[in-house]
Amino acid sequence: MLKLRGKASVKNASNDQSKLLKITRNKHLPVALRPKHALLLSAHDFESHKASSPNGEDISSDFASILFLGSQKSFPETVPILPNSRDVFLLPEDFNYLAEGDILRLNPATGNIAAVFRKETPNNSILLTERCNHLCLMCSQPPKNIDDSWLLDEAFDLVRLMPTDTPNIGFTGGEPTTYGYRFIELIETTKRNLPRTSVDVLTNGRAFKDEQYAASLGRIKHPDLQLGIPLYSDDPVRHDFIVQSKGAFDETVHGILNLKRHGIRVEIRVVVHQQTLPRLVQTCEFIARNLLFVDHVALMGLEITGFTRANLDILWADPHDYRDTLSEAIEILRTYGMHCSVYNHQLCVVNADVRDVCRKSISDWKNEYLPECDKCTKRPECGGFFSTQILHRHSDYIKALTS
């Protein structure tokens, strides 16, 4: 699992606040561009420098920051680290994945770093807030009641920095609509600055019960926007219980209707666990009879992180045990002509009839495998595991498929 956030030791720290910088390895980058870039150097680069310019004179001081990749051992304290350069970060080895075009948030005062955009990843996820009006039993991003609107400010900056050929970004939280109309502005800004980038937003959809709010999102006419909205049961009591908020079901359904009225794509997400399983089939029937016009339905496996770990005893269900229920649920959605997918399930623990809708979500901090998987003929198509599943809980029935 990739480490996206960390701490580094900083030499020649400036007084700059937390800043977003694009990474380059090109020390001959045109001068005009350097103030917005961080130059990434490996220990090897440093070694070869030492030979030719012991005091690092040929590394320009125009860069906003210099990043050294490598362990502490490579940087003995005694070496003068580029006395003319400011904000020199000595990155721990975990960050060896950083590459040209990535975007980092750097805080010279604290040494905190975070990789907020990675060029090689097909799906970049941008956290907008950790505030949320729900408290889902299986929340993977437990809410915090703090003012983190700086994340939103940064998002505005980020979409203006990201390369325009970025295929996709996701806005997540917490609950992104916590920001009200500023969220709408963000989508508008994203459309203007990344017109060819598809956008996924994860939201509980409740704010859209206000039709004006839905209309304002619709007016943007974003060319490729989808809202992923959880609906955990056809039974309002059960849904409200799972999200721990009374009245959630009605407002979410109302929000979905308004969003569709204004031409916005909606995906309904159902996390499959002990609390949703008793009515999973009925929930899919409900979706097929009442919400046939939504664009996609995703049935998701549990991520063993956040609140899921604390509530594991009331959430965990082995996919092998519920495979027939899953098949029945998917069959209903498919028979009614709905686009549907299964995420985060390994191919060996679902029935063959749903394998073709099992999606391999390609995010490089998620696809891990067990030793048993080495002999599996279906491994290339299988999404494998979250590292949290490998660490904490996965099906007891993982077995290589050999046909």
Binding site: D240, F249, D250, N290, Y336
Partner: protein, 491 residues
């Protein structure tokens, strides 16, 4: 975790006494001695035991009753936990009725009454060479095409009938070409489709070429195995079956496998042979069969074919056929029954399959319209047949009349209005009304009353029996439920 509330704190209903809830509109009809079918305003159903229904409808249902959660999710009741029921029901009701705005999609052109067959049950045909007397004229055809394109429906299907439609192939070509030309000139061209009803006995390679070029699908007759088919459908040479089978083969080769469909007509002789008839369809590679009853019109009445069997006998025939088809599916043969599929679409989806004979408001005029060989315009095929028997009640006018005059015809409007099932006695209370239709022409023909007295109506007996039978089969067998859902959603 203490910060998480248990499910009980989200349930505001008390666990003991009656729950607090409001009824949403519902109707109920007995399924059998112990169970009722309840339907909500969107035509979705739920089964309930009789006493449970009475308790529920009088406000005495308890929240811990296993059906309580179902009744709420399926919009038979609303309570403090969710008020979205009425909105969702409104959307479903709207979907069901969306077709009303797109009226008259089916336009039937009777190109000729001439036919070389002499089927005793036939409604209308004439064994005659007299083209002048029995063929539609070009002038009439042109006017009919113009009228057809006045329909608000974005999809127009032109169906050629007769007699034997291919006996007037010249006019068929003319209608196809002029319809395509008219359509091409529209600012918003319609989806135009053509069907030719034919016994295939007189079809030639040239005719099939034309059909292939203009995407005309073929609807032919296949009553069953050779002896049954030939007995039902005599022609000089006694070879109707052979020509039909050869014709199907040729048509498929030229047009494509899914461009040829077949219809059967049930006669006295068919009643005990439904499996053989189905096997015949299987052997000839059809994907399904439409098991339909005999209409009480035309020669059928004259030759007492219609009264040769009653609705009970036909229902036995139907049930045996449907059960056989279900069994075939269980054995891995994907074959379907089209009448059931049409009804199941109404039961299990909010999508109206547009089957003219099972619509309320009735499908007359607004579902289909018939342009007869002599230029007269009828509200339905049955209306035309009734006219052949001397009763022109449902004649809308002629192709010389304006579109407005035809479709605001007093009798048509009156028939649509009065026969509207929701307002009819018995239908008004019936749980199955959302799935049923009204057939004013049938009831007029049988009882001289467009609404018909439903206790005596064979239309009612037949449909009720089928609705109950489909539900019983679905409830008793999950395989059938899944099979029927597939039929319903691909109708």
């Amino acid at each position: 975790m203490s910060r998480f509330q248990p499910i009980t704190s989200f349930d505001q209903q008390s666990s003991g006494d009656s729950a607090q809830y409001d009824l949403l509109p519902l109707r109920f009809t007995a399924l059998d001695d112990s169970r009722y079918v309840a339907t909500n305003i969107a035509g979705e159903y739920l089964l309930m035991a009789r006493d449970a229904l009475h308790r529920f409808a009088t406000g005495k249902l308890q929240a811990r009753d296993p059906q309580y959660v179902e009744l709420r999710s399926r919009h038979f009741l609303s309570d403090a936990h969710s008020k979205m029921g009425p909105d969702l029901l409104a959307i479903k009701v709207r979907s069901r009725h969306a077709r009303l705005a797109d009226w008259t999609g089916l336009h039937i052109f009777v190109l000729t009454l001439r036919c070389e067959h002499a089927c005793p049950y036939c409604q209308v045909s004439r064994q005659s060479e007299d083209k002048a007397a029995f063929d539609m004229s070009r002038e009439h055809a042109n006017k009919a095409v113009a009228l057809a394109f006045r329909s608000p429906n974005k999809s127009i299907k032109i169906e050629f009938q007769g007699g034997e439609s291919f006996l007037n192939f010249d006019l068929m070509k003319h209608v196809v070409l002029s319809a395509e030309a008219v359509n091409a000139r529209l600012t918003e061209p319609k989806n135009l489709a053509f069907v030719a009803a034919t016994n295939l006995a007189v079809v030639t390679a040239e005719m099939l070429n034309f059909c292939a070029q203009h995407d005309i699908t073929i609807s032919t007759s296949l009553d069953g195995p050779v002896d049954l088919h030939n007995k039902n459908r005599p022609r000089p040479g006694g070879n109707s079956y052979q020509l039909a089978v050869q014709g199907i083969e040729k048509a498929r080769l030229r047009l494509g496998r899914d461009k040829v469909s077949a219809l059967m007509t049930t006669t006295q002789g068919s009643l005990s042979r439904v499996r053989e008839i189905i096997d015949e369809y299987l052997a000839l590679d059809f994907q399904g069969i439409f098991l339909r009853p005999l209409s009480p019109y035309g020669f059928a009445v004259k030759t007492k074919f219609y009264r040769a069997y009653n609705v009970k006998q036909w229902l036995q025939f139907y049930d045996e056929g449907l059960d056989y088809i279900i069994d075939l599916n269980k054995r891995g043969v994907p074959f379907r029954e089209y009448y059931a599929s049409t009804i199941l679409a109404k039961i299990l989806t909010s999508h109206d399959p547009g089957y003219v004979d099972l619509m309320s408001p009735a499908g007359i005029g607004i579902g289909a319209v018939v342009y007869n060989y002599d230029g007269s315009v009828y509200a339905s095929d049955e209306a035309r047949m009734l006219a052949e028997m001397g009763d022109t009640t449902f004649k809308l006018g002629t192709v010389e009349d304006s579109f407005e005059a035809l479709f605001t015809n007093e009798t048509l409007l009156q028939a649509l209005d009065e026969s509207f099932a929701y307002s009819s006695p018995m239908c008004h209370d019936c749980a199955f009304e959302p799935w049923c239709g009204s057939d004013p022409v049938f009831h007029w023909g049988q009882q001289q009353d467009m609404i018909g007295r439903k206790p005596e109506s064979e239309f009612c007996v037949r449909n009720m029996h089928i609705f109950k039978g489909l539900i019983r089969r679905m409830e008793d067998d999950p395989f059938v439920r899944r099979l029927f859902t597939r039929w319903a959603t691909s109708c």
